[in-house]
Symmetry: C2
Subunit: 440 residues, 2 copies
């Protein structure tokens, strides 16, 4: 089909690629009656990525951190949503190619996020999954739980040790959260569940190439995180490079770590879709956009969020976090709204403001009742920071209708016809035999 | 490993295969201090199967109807649990073969349930999944939701119709519940979610070979179910045989139903594990056990639940429902307890009582606020029956700690170190490339 065919031809077409934090914010903020918006995403859901590690460690189930995109925008006029993969972008011709068909755009917003980077070693992925999607989280959860089940029936002490060793590569927020959650899971949740093995004997190793954890935080909080994790039984290895990953082992400088459980939280890069775009990129493939978030040479095309490398109006690199994507989404929505409005009134095109990032603060959870947080000059650790983290995330999830709704989800489903779990969640559907994928 | 090696050699070994309703009840009821119990299941969870159709239609998420077996029995002494598939049963040698290793038993309880039967056409399975496991439910849910997403981007009217046609084969409780839930999903839940298509236009066809739905219920309730489903927009086809299933169509006598969505709820049979046992079986491969649930010729081996064909003490066929399995599990636990006790006291072996089934009643839900129920001579339909159904299932789930726990699941996980979602749920892991399965 031609995706633009059904749209009102008197209106401009704004295409949005990606329903993450940036794309979602853009679509919520952009309500111009002068345009039709077309949103594409490969998934049918928006994912609350900051809690993905909870799904990977069996703390939450998938529907609790995901929301169907259609539900979020139910009733929003002039917004068409397609669960489809954008295959190519023709910037000059102003067309997207989706499922072999064209979608013309007047404006384009690229909010495609990031994918896991193995720094030139894609073959490591099969042994060391990243954590970017529900499928990733489901895979890690199954692997972790199955390893412990297999350990219960394993008599070879070497194989047993390998099954009960968990290596997390990367000491950023995701790595810290995964290490802490696996420690909680094995050393507390599962404590009484097994007869032959003691899951509390699990070895958990967190590997960071740099000199400290949570490099984006103040050094005192990095040290606090290291100390807390160590107390929880996690081996923290700083200044340690991973040289290789194979079935059953992680190779370090002069050392082999035998393990059947590796989680890769070490790096991100821009998705392959952006590789062919004729615009400057940084080493991770992220688009180096103009100060207004537009692509150099293509004023009608914007990129926002994790797929972007941008020093903002204050000269600071905008961090690859939800707040950055959300604020960029709002910024671009304002620009396009104003320009459409000016064009309709035949007024001069208003000047575009450069994007300015407002840092609301950062937090990372470490484990049960432990977190670190910084807000401007203030820094918090331990239980206080964890309460802040809990409160903030509960508020965010309530915003997604996923927290309070869970309370009465089942009864509620019958009363108002909502179903909280309407999430397409499959593990590696692409790896299934063709027969299992419904024909188009 | 030899699974019996770690056990107390002064005690008898009772092996249990299957952690469904029957196996679970047996292990709960069997607490003899004179024996070690070893429980095997391929999954790490007990599944509340009566609500599986809710997972398949996105009403509930997997962890809400499943409970880790280890959690259920946490702290129960003399019970070993292995997540492993039993490969063979040597009745005379009193050994199970599990993962290539032996497990000797003094008593054996087979509670292996049933699998979907395609009546000699296993090739239909790829186009018409059954509904027996969380993986099945996940597959059906993904297929149903993806079909509707694809419909939104489909312009060919014939292909569009096929995407929005749902055929359920089999008019028993599962078929009736699936048809009603898909009607609720498409005609209510998703009503406002799409722009180009109207999910309420979905065609839902329920096919039953016999003359009425819910053959195990009183005919007035069968008729009530038919009428309710018809009002909800489901086409009910009675006396209709399915002659073939292929990609994109169901073949009936002299008619082709074009559809991309087929659910098979037409038949069950005993699992392949039982095929080689030298005991009489019925046409569906179910074991024809003695009145005490033991296998003819093997007094120390019992079979219970859906894998059994038994006319009970009153001469009535025990139905393949949870109640039947649960009552058999309790019955066998009493027999083995008494015999071990007598042996320890060197008393004569007590006579075994024949199993007597107590019918507590039956119910099936049809849709939002509609159900049918019968308790002895009493029959209920509509809202009253649905309230009964709701209440009973809520009570059951509370029994599993899965309903109330959901309310404060997240906070609770931190307070008492429990995680409600600790369920291994994978879609067709066997179809994944070998690398994705952790090495043993």
């Amino acid at each position: 089909m031609n995706f633009s065919n059904d749209l009102d031809p008197t209106k401009k077409v704004v295409a949005v690629v990606g329903a993450g934090f940036g794309g979602l914010k853009f679509c919520k903020a952009f309500r111009s009656p002068l345009a039709e918006t077309v949103l594409f995403d490969r998934q049918n859901h928006h994912l609350f990525q900051p809690l993905l590690y909870q799904v990977a460690t069996a703390g939450l189930s998938a529907p609790e951190i995901a929301q169907p995109v259609r539900t979020i925008f139910a009733g929003q006029l002039r917004l068409s949503i397609y669960m489809d993969e954008v295959e190519a972008i023709d910037l000059s011709g102003q067309n997207l190619v989706v499922d072999g068909q064209a979608c013309h755009f007047d404006y384009l917003v690229l909010a495609v996020g990031a994918v896991t980077s193995y720094f030139g070693h894609p073959e490591w992925e099969q042994h060391a999954p990243g954590l970017k999607s529900l499928a990733d989280a489901g895979r890690i959860r199954n692997d972790v739980l199955q390893a412990i089940e297999h350990a219960e029936a394993e008599i070879d002490p070497v194989a047993l040790r390998r099954l009960l060793t968990f290596v997390i590569v990367g000491g950023g927020p995701t790595g810290v959260e995964m290490a802490g959650a696996i420690a909680d899971l094995t050393k507390h949740t599962m404590r009484r569940d097994f007869r032959r093995i003691d899951p509390a004997q699990a070895r958990i190793v967190l590997i960071e190439a740099g000199p400290r954890l949570l490099a984006a935080f103040h050094p005192t909080l990095s040290e606090r995180a290291r100390r807390d994790l160590t107390q929880m039984g996690v081996e923290v290895r700083l200044n340690t490079m991973v040289r290789g990953v194979r079935a059953g082992e992680v190779q370090l400088d002069g050392e082999i770590l035998p393990t059947d459980n590796i989680v890769w939280a070490a790096g991100l890069q821009a998705p392959p879709l952006l590789a062919k775009l004729p615009v400057p990129k940084d080493r991770a493939g992220r688009l180096q956009v103009a100060p207004d978030c537009s692509l150099p040479g293509y004023a009608n095309v914007f990129a926002i969020g994790d797929c972007v490398a941008l020093k903002d109006a204050k000269g600071l690199q905008v961090p690859g976090v939800a707040q950055g994507a959300i604020q960029m989404g709002g910024h671009v929505a304002k620009i396009i709204t104003a320009e459409l409005d000016a064009a309709a009134r035949k007024a001069p095109v208003p000047a575009r403001k450069p994007f300015a990032y407002f840092d609301k603060g950062s937090m990372a959870t470490i484990g049960r009742a432990r977190a670190v947080a910084q807000v401007g000059p203030l820094r918090f650790g331990g239980f206080i920071a964890w309460l802040m983290w809990l409160g903030l995330h509960l508020v965010f999830l309530v915003g997604l209708r996923n927290r309070l709704a869970v309370l009465l989800q089942w009864f509620y489903a019958y009363v108002v016809y909502r179903r909280g779990a309407r999430i397409i969640w499959s593990q590696k559907v692409d790896a299934l035999p063709a027969a299992a994928v419904p024909p188009r």
